[in-house]
Subunit: 376 residues, 2 copies
């Protein structure tokens, strides 16, 4: 927790639950990425935290933006980003939304299927397009399904088809999985990408860009490598497979940009046991799976959690949210322990909650308001 | 789909995604429950669908309300319910919210722990309280964890303690699991409850009420017994264990009241394959797990899905939502098939989506607006 957030929580005592984001950390993360990966263009993945305060800050620093939807495009333009800094990175777009983006000046689009190419050729003629390829990456904490991307041989054909339909086959994207901590995965992914560059070169298409996606982690319960080691892994993979003929590089940090910048302040609503023989306490917080902590689904993301009573004796707990939904449990198997002295009404801090929290929050499940946020 | 909803969709052609709820069905369900379970008081579980239109309708019909939070109390009172018709059924309440409820005239509260009893004794003196007991019920489609309720022997002691602290130990509640289709579970649960009544009688406490919770199903992909058979099972269990000395009975239908009243209209955004050898199509809709279909988590609730092209040849599909989240997949293992002629832009209807959809919807994940709803 930063001194700035600590002071804010101390002085303001905001109603819980809420997230407090230290914008200085976002700035530091952006500048850190610029420093360690000077050859890469940074496209902030707006979906990680679409707060106007964050988008404005990053627009001012010169960042580009990876957007998922029409409202995210509007958000970026309103925050001062020019349309040539926006990449419509969702491979699943309505044609009307592609047309909207094109009309606003966006000229960079993701796709991974022929049907999407049809829409792009009609609604965004002449635009740069990049094809997302499937990766089966181990080592990511947030699961990566086959939802995005296509097989390499299909990607090759689609990029040829893109040229034939008047689009500019610009590059290839992949994603090694959010919160990816196995640095070797980058080498595998870049290797496949380089092969695709070569194949397309043989049919007269010179791709110009590799979109390395996201995957940069925030600091949850498990230790993670520093950003410098990520940068090393990425640049080593790129030079290993592309030599000194490096294409343009795009990275799309979301979690890695804003995750560690936020703290979620919550309150203990109830502590109980289910029976006299239980040795596990149930600790119910005023935030849960439907109030912003959706990434605890299947206990995937394991946040660090701190209280003012840390340091003394602790015991095992199940952590749950405040709703009447029996699935609204944060951690039951992950082995969390909390102070034995923890009491109803205590404030609890959930760290690294700047990404994928506020916007996941349910609109009014069980009557609870969406998670509030402060940007300081 | 009702004729009224069909006409609305045809004439209005609302932007997708949206839920359309036929209030006549809600009324019919309420009256049906009254008919089949005339001895039970109906407490509508507001969390299932907190739309003011539904709460007003049910308040007008004389329904009681099971609420989960302070905003839900405000909603019910604003809709014309008197506070003596409101049960604060969440076992996890802030003391300030209990005080708010008490101040508004609410006098019926759930609890399952000593710490909650402490709050109730202080903030709601003299109120009727009922203790929720743990059930381990098979047969429910939506998982029931140990989050709510306590062991029977603890419940006994807590109800004695309630009396000693100036509260009225009023009854016992349990929940057989949402979407419970094994009717035998009611007998097991009522049997345990009756034993608790007897034990407390021996120490001079006459409990007066059994809260049978929810569990009444909506019609998803699996066939379900009719409401008459549920009523039979419940009344059989009650008379089996309580004889002709029946206590007051409360039921808390949420899903069973509004689930079947709603249709979710959505649009096909993309249909694709991941590779040339795939025999499964990916069908991407403009609604997903974070846009209102949270109950597809682990493919628990399997909605019926219809299109205008049904009837011809069909093939296997993976169904996914429109966001850039790789976890936003509705059904991958549940074996859904859709028409081979299905095309991008087609409208698709997801049935029985009146409960646990709109309020679960994320506030703006990926920039998408919360799920819209129409009440007709």
């Amino acid at each position: 927790m930063t001194a700035k957030i600590a002071r804010f929580l101390e002085e303001v005592r905001p109603a819980t639950p809420c997230v407090v984001v230290d914008l200085d950390i976002v700035r530091d993360n952006y500048l850190g990425l610029r420093h360690w990966l000077p050859l890469a263009q940074i496209y902030y993945a707006v979906k990680a935290n679409p707060a106007p305060e964050i988008v404005r800050l990053l627009a001012g620093l010169g960042s580009n933006f990876d957007v998922a939807s029409r409202p995210e495009i509007e958000l970026c333009l309103a925050a001062g980003a020019s349309p040539d800094k926006v990449s419509f990175g969702n491979t699943i777009k309505k044609k009307s939304d592609i047309a909207f983006a094109y009309d606003k000046g966006v000229r960079l689009f993701a796709f991974d299927s022929e049907a999407e190419l049809d829409k792009l050729a009609e609604a965004a003629p002449g635009s740069r397009v990049f094809c997302r390829i499937l990766m089966t990456c181990d080592g990511a904490e947030w699961p990566l399904s086959r939802k995005f991307g296509c097989e390499i041989d299909m990607a090759r054909d689609l990029l040829v088809a893109a040229r034939d339909r008047g689009l500019e086959p610009y590059g290839v994207s992949f994603h090694v999985g959010s919160q990816q901590t196995d640095l070797g995965q980058w080498d595998i992914a870049v290797g496949k990408t380089a092969m695709l560059f070569t194949e397309l070169n043989e049919v007269g298409i010179e791709l110009k860009m590799v979109n390395l996606g996201g995957g940069l982690p925030a600091r949850y319960r498990t230790d993670i490598p520093g950003i410098d080691r990520y940068a090393d892994a990425i640049m080593h993979a790129m030079t290993n497979h592309f030599g000194n003929n490096l294409p343009a590089m795009i990275i799309e940090p979301g979690r890695g940009m804003v995750g560690d910048a936020g703290i979620l302040e919550t309150e203990v609503v109830l502590i109980s046991k289910k029976g006299y023989d239980d040795d596990v306490r149930w600790v119910y917080l005023d935030v849960g799976k439907f109030g912003g902590l959706a990434e605890t689904m299947d206990e995937a993301i394991k946040y660090r959690i701190v209280t003012d009573r840390d340091g003394g004796a602790a015991g095992p707990v199940v952590l749950a949210g405040p709703t009447c939904d029996s699935a609204d449990i944060l951690y039951e198997k992950a082995g969390y322990a909390m102070p034995l002295e923890l009491a109803v009404g205590d404030r609890v801090r959930i760290l690294s909650t700047g990404a994928y929290t506020t916007s996941y929050s349910a609109v009014n499940f069980n009557g609870f308001e969406p998670l509030k946020a402060y940007f300081i």
